[in-house]
Symmetry: D2
Subunit: 314 residues, 4 copies
């Protein structure tokens, strides 16, 4: 995989992408019932690329913290795999796409409590529960990992948990509590349902910037090697990327694979993380969502960036 010849320097490309994709009018939606996710202005738009060569390029609101939400699932999965024999986790969660969200519940029943993959909510709860075996304060453990990998800019705040947001989301976690109790009923949850959901919600409430997110995820483009050493094995890094490609974008994984052609993971906070194997990690953020729950401007920007750079796994 190589960058197209004669392409302009990446920083100019990113500036141009911000110019073209920063929303000028209010389009798209925000998640219902989560006040703190609807507060960022619709015109927010940031993008950052951390490369294997050690460079970080960024443009727009790339240093504004946003709620990473489900992007956290990628990192929690990596930590759960690194904390334990990976096989132990993979006996509790599958690695296959789940179809529609409607079906994910049916499938949990049909497949006797083994979630289809680590990125649907039931799967993420199992992963969190698994990580809690070694690290009961899973959210704190995740935060320390992200802070270490993201580094700290002078004057920067670094990743943090928005505790008010976490409390507010926890009060609206009936569906996740239901899933956790179902998993418990099937014998696939070890810790108390309430404790697992709390950790899960606090992980989702982590605030990070595009720059920090791209840096923290760089290990996935580098065979598992992060800033501070090996995070996961080469083999598990490859597996995480393949799960991102097949299951990372809710019910639009196929469409994203086609339009962008990179392993990606989105969050309802408007962030999207994408991996260019061997090259680097990209994070884009813009808060308004399309009908599938993925950042509207973020998806368009990544498609544009992939076209301009030739970055694609296909």
């Amino acid at each position: 995989m190589t960058t197209a010849l004669d392409s302009p320097p990446l920083d100019l490309v990113l500036d141009d992408i911000v110019r073209n994709h920063r929303p000028r009018t209010e389009e798209g939606s925000v998640p219902a019932g989560i006040p703190h996710l609807s507060s960022p202005p619709f015109s927010r738009f940031g993008i950052a690329v951390a490369t294997s060569a050690g460079d970080v390029f960024s443009a727009g609101d790339a240093d504004v913290p946003f709620s990473i939400q489900s992007i956290s699932k990628v990192f929690t999965l990596a930590l759960a795999l690194s904390a334990d024999d990976p096989g132990a986790l993979w006996s509790r969660v599958l690695r296959e796409p789940s179809g529609t969200s409607f079906n994910s519940l049916v499938q949990l029943e049909v497949e006797h409590g083994i979630p289809r993959n680590p990125f649907i909510n039931s799967g993420a709860l199992v992963v969190t529960d698994h990580l809690m075996e070694g690290f009961p304060d899973a959210a704190g453990h995740l935060l320390r990992f992200l802070s270490r990998e993201a580094g700290r800019r002078i004057g920067g705040q670094g990743p943090f948990i928005d505790e008010d947001a976490a409390k507010s989301e926890l009060a609206n976690s009936s569906r996740n509590l239901a899933l956790a109790h179902f998993l418990k009923d099937f014998g696939n949850l070890r810790r108390p349902a309430q404790a697992v959901v709390e950790n899960y919600v606090r992980q989702c409430s982590i605030m990070m910037t595009c720059v920090e997110t791209a840096k923290a995820a760089l290990f996935l483009a580098q065979d598992g090697r992060g800033a501070q050493g090996t995070v996961v094995s080469r083999s598990e890094a490859k597996r995480i990327s393949s799960i991102m490609l097949t299951c990372g974008m809710y019910d639009a994984a196929g469409e994203f694979a086609y339009r962008v052609g990179l392993p990606g993971k989105s969050g309802v906070g408007g962030g999207i993380l994408a991996i260019v194997p061997g090259e680097g990690a990209i994070c884009v953020w813009s808060p308004r969502l399309d009908s599938k729950g993925n950042s509207l401007a973020g998806t368009a920007a990544l498609a544009d960036l992939a076209d301009r750079t030739g970055w694609s796994v296909f």
Copy 2:
């Protein structure tokens, strides 16, 4: 994407792969109730690679014709896209993974007759129906395309339809007829159900060798350009590959993406087609299947080949 440095020549690698992966004992299963698919000896094993440089490497039973079955769906999709405005087809079938086969039926109901993707049976029936608009003899049209792209070896027979097998499968096509009538009920089938299923079954009954299959699919590794000119646009070639990666291996797409890391499409005849974007097309064949319906030895061989060559999209 580059071949690993200092790797041995590809023909030696393929010979070695045949040595290591040709089944020595009878393991795996054959499809129930399809006599002609259970007739090839379990020890059959062939592999071929057609490269963008114009070379064809092969080993084992790479010149023995086998029933391509669902691998035909890749080619029918390409022809349906090339025969018409691609958008017209994509309004009739989605591009997303379908979860378990159990759910594919439910999803057809939930999504009002729009199949989840072109590789599940309901989707393939819609694609065949679409191709029949321009080419009522869709199976014959497909056969001519494959023959042209595969070329003809001196003394070789070239692709052909096993008409006896087709007749026998047609007599056992109750489920496909059911799906076709459902699609008709939802208004998503234009031709008579019986005619569409007949064409579908005859496409699946095409007999080809590994060498022919790899050559015929080379356009997917070459931005849509085949031996005789453009088959599909660069954009649609990329899309077909992304659908192969997310939906090509029945309920083991995620596992295949991880173990092999290449877009693939398998058939219950024991064949698997894999694409190395920019590099070439691979076809492996061994008739015994794993529990998900994919060639047991074929999957292992592709994983081995990907490891040795470094071919992977991740």
Copy 3:
């Protein structure tokens, strides 16, 4: 079960019910896409009661033939049970409510081709197929039975098949053909799918009057004994009534059991058959339907009649 003391004679009650329930304004709906079912004027309303004492009371349009549609399922079931060892049929179809129509398809899959009960379409197809073992012309056999039991009024036409309607419905039978092929795939259909659906559609296209329908069904109120001798055993008569009570009114069986309190079976032609065990059979007809597919005025009239007479199984 006794008629309330001091209640007025039944003929006066029926006259009053016609006065109160014959629709004066156009309300309710007609089945989409079945032209001949939407042709009767909305103001049509007939009611008839055939009693064990041998009397027949009727009022309104009780001598106007209407399309019995799914009411035919009751009679076909009785004939299939009388033609064969009942156990043979009950191994092919269950006797339990099916939940929503959405689930009936899923349940067919989950329960491996054994329909939940004889009154959902898949179950009725199995019953028809079963009857065809002894009577390949199942619809003709049913018609002869109905004519015999209903008797013939002087100058009356008697039950007949509306062949034009049958042809038109057959041309719109994709969903029933789909169900038949699914049943075939599961090994639960012996005759060709097309032939079974044809017989099924012709049974549904039988035209009868309220008077004829009530008389033909009287055996169900008389321990299985009809006008010309035993139709089914006492035990099977009881079973048919119990299936009517739990499964006879589409997704409103519970509501009908409460409002009317009698075993009933409705058809989308606007007819409803109800059984008063030990007392008699009632048929009401009015063509406009409620949201569940049951006659709007017919259901209200039966509730009223049950209130006035004290007829109820509860």
Copy 4:
């Protein structure tokens, strides 16, 4: 509905039924994972009939308390209806059969949190939640009602809650907690999930004898009038009976309607309550269950009793 002529007195019939149906060998199963339900010897068998004439007949272990489990749902429903405008409850729960238990979960999703009927677990949780509006200690309220209606025999203990059993079941209530949180997510639960499940479990843990259960349920055979006055309106009494007939025996409602022909409600403690409209209430108890979760000997005994007495709604 009348008792067959020349039939022997009811007390002799019940004695005979105990002789014929009391299990002599261990057959059937006990609920997995609920220790206190598997403790009664398999040979336990009791039966009681409370009549509208004011008599109580009983035989066998009719004075041994057993865990009423889901039979409690009938009483809780009646109390919830009597505590409030019935329409308020019926807007929160439907009155239709649910198909298989597998589907009940799917249907909860499809029907947006409105359970199919008050006797599936999700429905019973909604009913409990509804009753808690007026009576936060719903289980205590239910116990007082049962004690009052059942009367107190000299030396008898009367209904009581097995608090140890309740605690043990509460510790295994993951599925009910999951359902409660789902209902909450859909906005159809007002009280905290934990509190509702606690009340529900304590209601199920009520211990009563056959004699007490029959007496407490007599109001359902008497147009809603109990020992101490009106419990529910005539109309609601009829409705409860109709829901029992269509939904009272788990996935064997149709079979029970045919074999017994009476509205019934069973519990996994081995009890079955049946109503003979206008005549009386029957309770039978024997702890071993059939594959659908209904008392094996109890069902057979009720079928026998219905045959001998002619009691049947059909």
